[in-house]
């Protein structure tokens, strides 16, 4: 069996292949498991006990039945009750043990999962920005939810299942051999049959389940595309043609599901069939043996029960193996993320950047995102304290790159960047980054109160400080009008406030930081020119006495800059004041004039 046809949800993406490097994954898992060795040993002992106890049950019932002789008044009650008493005792203890075991395993796996998520997240926040530029959010999130969940299920149930299976199979086999070695011969028919069937199904069904996953994925993609574009579909009254396409994909999806189930649904009945077959064979052979006095009735009864116990795990085995495989694959994905290279640590003797004046210098800087593809070549830049540097260029020209370098989100390839005469790789990242305040185009707010969001940049900020920052940003009166004022919770993605107000909140956040250098990355592109004028006061105040780096797409807004960097196709192509650049009649001149055509 490739995938469990009955249990387990559909796997949306086809991720359940074998892990590539089993040793690597096992080593990683062992690191976690070994923290809880005591749990593990206790679990193994408990499993052993509870299963062995359960194995005694059929034996006891067999003895009891032997004491029940057919015919009136022939029953030896003392013996029957004696064994029945033992049965009750064993079953109680076995049930209690198995409950304790389950709880123990849940605790065990939850401890590991907790630690694993914690480690994974700690890793995540240490990763460089480049990692997030390369990887999709959904993919990272699925490691936290889907993958870790898969590992969890496997740890809490599969492990015990494997132990139990081994004990039950071997225990039952031994018991059966003790009762009647001849009857065990029946197993020579049924075991090969199970094995053969399992292998046959695995071969047959695996590709079908793969197709099923693929089709589900296609349906997902189609629905996502169409639902997000539903307004356009309506506007063009294209509902019918979309429905038609959907009908086709939908049909393919349910058909693929059915195909997989067509074979998958054979499993249950076939497993039953093999059980029934062995029951029939045991009955016939047992009856004959009984007839010739080689066996007792109790023996047959015990044997039948053991044979059922015996075949159960063998049929389950294939399921467990495929579950283990997908857990291993999930673990591999989790460990891969844990092994990502974090940001380089600060230099050992790195200084704290303090009392920043705000002098920034770039000397012969070269940089590229992809090895061998240098985009910034030999860039020189000088910004005195309190002056304004503007970065302009067409969309996609690479204006943000310069910010990435200033903030040390990426390390430069060659040259040097100096802040107040300190090379930025000689100071701690934290102190470098905290000496900048930043307002970005993507207004990032998290699900918390407005207070928390404004105070985010300054530890232990007081309410007075937050209010003062909000006032300076011109958003105080708006906040006051909200039902919970500063304690209003911003819900996911800040859906309950407008873009302009979000932007003002991030400006307030930057205000509170009181840094000497400021980065504005298209900070006003979400707001139109008129709103921009309204928040201009707030912006001016924010920019006061700061060394500013401004990325802007509206050229009218940066004409007064002390220095303008003109960026095209990644590299800085021109540099100078508005006047100088206009006189030069180069790229900037063309860019500037195009807006009046």
């Amino acid at each position: 069996m490739a995938t469990n046809p009955q249990g387990g949800g559909p796997k949306i993406s086809d991720k359940t292949d074998k892990p590539k490097d089993t040793g690597y994954v096992l080593k990683g898992l062992w690191k976690y498991v070994s923290h809880y060795k005591v749990h593990l040993i206790a679990a193994i002992i408990l499993t052993l006990c509870s299963n062995l106890l359960a194995l005694v049950g059929p034996m006891l019932s067999g003895y009891a039945i032997d004491a029940i002789q057919p015919g009136k008044g022939l029953v030896v009650f003392q013996t029957v009750l004696y064994y029945a008493g033992w049965m009750i005792a064993f079953y109680i203890v076995s049930s209690v043990l198995s409950y304790i075991l389950s709880v123990l395993m849940i605790r065990f796996s939850q401890k590991i999962i907790h630690k694993m998520r914690e480690d994974l997240f700690s890793k995540l926040v240490e990763l460089p920005v480049s990692f997030f530029d390369r990887n999709q959010a959904g993919d990272i999130i699925s490691k936290f939810s889907y993958d870790i969940d898969t590992i969890n299920t496997s740890l809490s149930s599969d492990f015990i299942q494997v132990c139990t299976s081994f004990i039950t199979v071997f225990g039952s086999l031994i018991m059966m051999i003790i009762i009647s070695p001849i009857l065990v011969l029946v197993m020579l028919v049924t075991i090969p049959l199970s094995l053969f069937y399992t292998r046959y199904m695995a071969k047959k069904v695996r590709p079908l389940f793969r197709t099923r996953s693929k089709k589900l994925g296609e349906l997902n993609g189609f629905v996502e595309e169409m639902v997000s574009g539903q307004m356009t579909i309506k506007a063009y009254a294209a509902e019918n043609s979309v429905m038609e396409k959907f009908g086709r994909i939908n049909k393919e999806t349910v058909d693929a599901y059915f195909e997989a189930e067509y074979y998958g649904s054979m499993t249950g009945p076939t497993v039953n069939f093999i059980n029934n077959l062995s029951l029939s064979l045991i009955t016939v052979l047992g009856a004959v043996l009984y007839l010739f006095g080689k066996m007792t009735l109790g023996n047959i009864s015990s044997f039948v029960q053991y044979s059922r116990k015996f075949s159960g795990p063998i049929n389950e085995m294939a399921n467990i193996i495929s579950e283990l495989q997908s857990a291993m694959a999930a673990a591999e994905r989790v460990f891969k993320l844990m092994d990502e290279i974090p940001e380089l640590p600060d230099k050992e003797n790195a200084n704290e950047l303090s009392e920043v004046k705000g002098e920034v210098k770039m000397e012969g800087v070269s940089f590229g995102y992809i090895p061998d593809k240098e985009i910034i070549k030999n860039l020189f830049l000088y910004a005195r304290p309190g002056c304004l540097t503007a970065i302009v260029g067409p969309t996609g020209a690479g204006k943000t790159t310069i910010i990435n370098l200033l903030m040390r989100f990426y390390d430069i390839w060659g040259g040097a960047i100096w802040v107040d005469g300190n090379e930025i790789r000689d100071v701690t990242r934290k102190s470098l980054r905290r000496s900048y305040a930043m307002v970005l185009q993507d207004t990032w707010l998290f699900s918390g109160t407005i207070f928390d969001n404004i105070a985010y940049g300054k530890e232990n900020a007081t309410m007075d400080e937050v209010v003062a920052a909000a006032k300076a940003a011109g958003i105080h009166s708006y906040i006051k009008r909200l039902p919970q004022g500063y304690y209003t919770v911003i819900n996911e993605d800040g859906m309950n406030i407008s873009k302009g107000q979000k932007q003002l909140l991030t400006i307030a956040r930057a205000m509170l930081m009181d840094a000497k250098m400021l980065i504005l990355d298209e900070a006003t592109s979400n707001v139109d020119t008129r709103t921009e004028i309204k928040i201009q006061k707030a912006m001016r105040k924010l920019m006061e006495n700061k060394t500013c780096f401004v990325i802007a797409h509206r050229l009218s807004t940066i004409q007064g800059a002390d220095n303008i960097l003109v960026v095209d196709q990644g590299d800085v192509v021109e540099q100078g004041t508005h006047k100088e650049l206009m006189e030069k009649k180069g790229f900037y001149y063309k860019l500037y004039n195009s807006q009046f055509e």
Partner: protein
């Protein structure tokens, strides 16, 4: 659940037949221990090996029959699940496409997507599973009672006596357990949210060096998840040992009571052996119940979410209105509208004649796009009315109404299809029509540069095109149907000024009969239009030509200043 089960109604005959076959098959399963008892108690005393073999062959026959019938029933069940899911998904998708803007806002698009996908999978899974495994357990339990009562009615009473206890456990655990899982899911969502925020806000978090703070935030939600999972898991773990215990107790009781019955001569030991066998079969069946337990609770949550969408009433119904005589092609008459309680659009009145052009300009959030949405009836006005050729749009068939428009929205979507199909959008346009539209939209040059021209396949969201190319395709889509009314909502912002100017020129020259509405940020995009509407917080603060507005409208002057004036200082 009910709403979703209604989809099974057409399949009731098939399901009934399947159930019948399943019952037949299960009874064959259950017949085996009966034969076992018969052999032990009645055949063996006859001391005939050949008779034993004959009965053994009978058992074999029952086994084969059970397998065959069960497989047939399972496949029928899968077919029903397939067909019911197909219809359900179809209806759900159709419903989603027909939701109004207000309803979409209420459900949100990501949530609708997950209802369409994972929720329908859960349902598909459950419908199949219920029919295959879900019904097997009750059949075995009831069938077991029937068959055993023919063997030994008194011992059957023990079997029946165990049931209420098992039912009680299932009831208690599910009653307590399902809310725990719902609660757990909410916490997991919270955790995912923190992770997502950390991914999207990585630059801010790093800039402010808030790593430790974020670790703390995650740590607390992580602990919450673990605690809740422990609680739910500890409860759920009761089920199996408890069920096992109950059945095993029943089994022991059978031995004891059986002993008394045999002693009094009213039973035989072989029957006790058969009973023990039945208990084993039931034990397995009950285990299956606990397994589908979780599946059902998941599916019922999904069913609720799906039903919520299906039960949403269409809120943009056709309402009859008397047509009025009007010179205007498009006319807004005292239109008011609000998304929530606060008024968003207040008292908008204007009219434009056929072939005229209207520009709408104003701050972000001033309601420009909303006006267009109202005109296309994605929302209904709260007060006033919107008329096209004198007919209130609420009395026009929605498909017919929207057929009048060619529109390019702000951040409009492109689909993973060919360029042709993206422009055509199922309207059956000819390649020539499409090509002409691309020329007018200034898109022809880059399209003809591609090897496969109009057949060039776009990637999802058109990510293999630049922003300007995307906008030009969207405009081509709007122009291609030679629409009565053309709407361009801020859809030339990524074009350079030169291309933008050429575009405006070709629209002016080649679409003379078309009434056009252009929403823009740049004054240069609207200054040459017949009329310009200036919006400010949902109010109409100016209406007229560029020259008139420059004289009379202070808001317009400000916008003009901000774009053309030499602002002193920065920003």
């Amino acid at each position: 659940m009910k709403r979703v089960f209604a989809y099974l109604k057409p399949y009731y005959p098939r399901m009934a037949l399947g159930l019948f076959i399943k019952i037949l098959g299960t009874f064959m399963d259950l017949g085996l221990p009966w034969v076992l008892a018969y052999i032990l108690d009645d055949v063996i005393p006859k001391k005939s090996v050949s008779l034993i073999l004959w009965w053994g062959a009978g058992m074999l026959l029952l086994s084969v029959g059970a397998r065959t019938l069960n497989i047939v029933a399972n496949r029928m069940a899968s077919k029903v699940a397939r067909d019911a899911t197909e219809t359900l998904r179809h209806d759900l998708f159709q419903k989603i496409l027909s939701l109004s803007g207000r309803q979409l806002n209420y459900f949100t698009i990501p949530s609708l997507e997950s209802r369409m996908t994972s929720d329908t999978y859960n349902i598909h899974h459950m419908i199949g599973m219920m029919q295959r495994i879900g019904v097997r357990a009750p059949i075995i339990l009831i069938g077991g009672i029937i068959i055993t009562s023919t063997l030994e009615p008194v011992l059957t009473l023990i079997l029946i006596g165990v049931f209420p206890f098992m039912a009680l456990i299932v009831y208690l655990v599910s009653k307590k357990g399902i809310p725990l899982y719902t609660n757990l899911q909410e916490t997991v969502d919270k955790m995912v949210r923190v992770v997502r925020e950390n991914i999207t806000g990585v630059r801010v978090i790093k800039a402010l060096s808030k790593n430790e703070y974020e670790k703390g935030r995650f740590s607390s939600v992580n602990k919450e998840v673990v605690d809740k999972e422990l609680k739910a898991g500890t409860l759920m773990a009761v089920t199996n040992p408890a069920m096992n215990f109950l059945l095993n107790m029943g089994l022991t009781l059978v031995v004891i009571v059986g002993a008394f019955r045999v002693n009094s001569g009213s039973s035989e030991p072989g029957k006790i052996v058969a009973f023990l066998s039945y208990f084993m079969i039931m034990l397995h069946a009950v285990m299956a119940i606990t397994r589908i337990f979780i599946g059902v609770s998941k599916a019922s949550a999904s069913a609720k979410r799906i039903a919520e969408v299906l039960d949403t009433e269409e809120d943009l119904k056709e309402i009859p209105f008397e047509p009025k005589n009007s010179d205007y092609h498009i006319e807004f008459d005292n239109v008011c509208f609000s998304y929530t309680h606060e008024p968003f659009i207040t008292d908008i009145s204007f009219g434009i004649k056929k072939g005229e052009s209207l520009g709408i300009i104003g701050s972000t959030g001033s309601g420009k796009t909303t006006l267009v949405h109202l005109l296309m009836r994605f929302y209904d006005v709260d007060k006033g009315s919107i008329r096209i050729n004198g007919v209130d749009i609420r009395s026009i068939d929605k498909q017919k109404l929207r057929g009048m428009f060619g529109v390019a929205f702000q951040n409009d979507v492109l689909f993973a299809e060919s360029i042709y199909e993206n422009i055509n959008l199922g309207r059956g346009l000819t390649k020539e029509d499409v090509l002409i539209a691309t020329e007018d939209a200034q898109a022809a040059s880059f399209i003809l540069n591609k090897d496969d021209k109009l057949n060039h396949k776009l990637t999802i969201k058109g990510s293999n095109l630049s922003g300007g190319q995307k906008q030009r395709l969207l405009i081509a889509r709007a122009l291609a149907g030679k629409p009565e009314i053309l709407i361009l909502d801020d859809s030339s912002s990524a074009l350079d000024y030169k291309t933008d100017a050429q575009l405006r020129k070709s629209i002016r020259n080649n679409y003379k009969g078309t009434t056009s509405i252009i929403i823009a940020q740049r004054i240069s995009s609207v200054m040459k239009l017949d009329k310009i509407l200036v919006l400010e917080e949902g109010h109409m603060v100016g209406y007229g030509t560029h020259e008139e507005l420059l004289k009379t409208c202070s808001v317009y002057q400000e916008i003009y200043q901000s774009q053309f004036g030499q602002l002193e200082g920065v920003l």
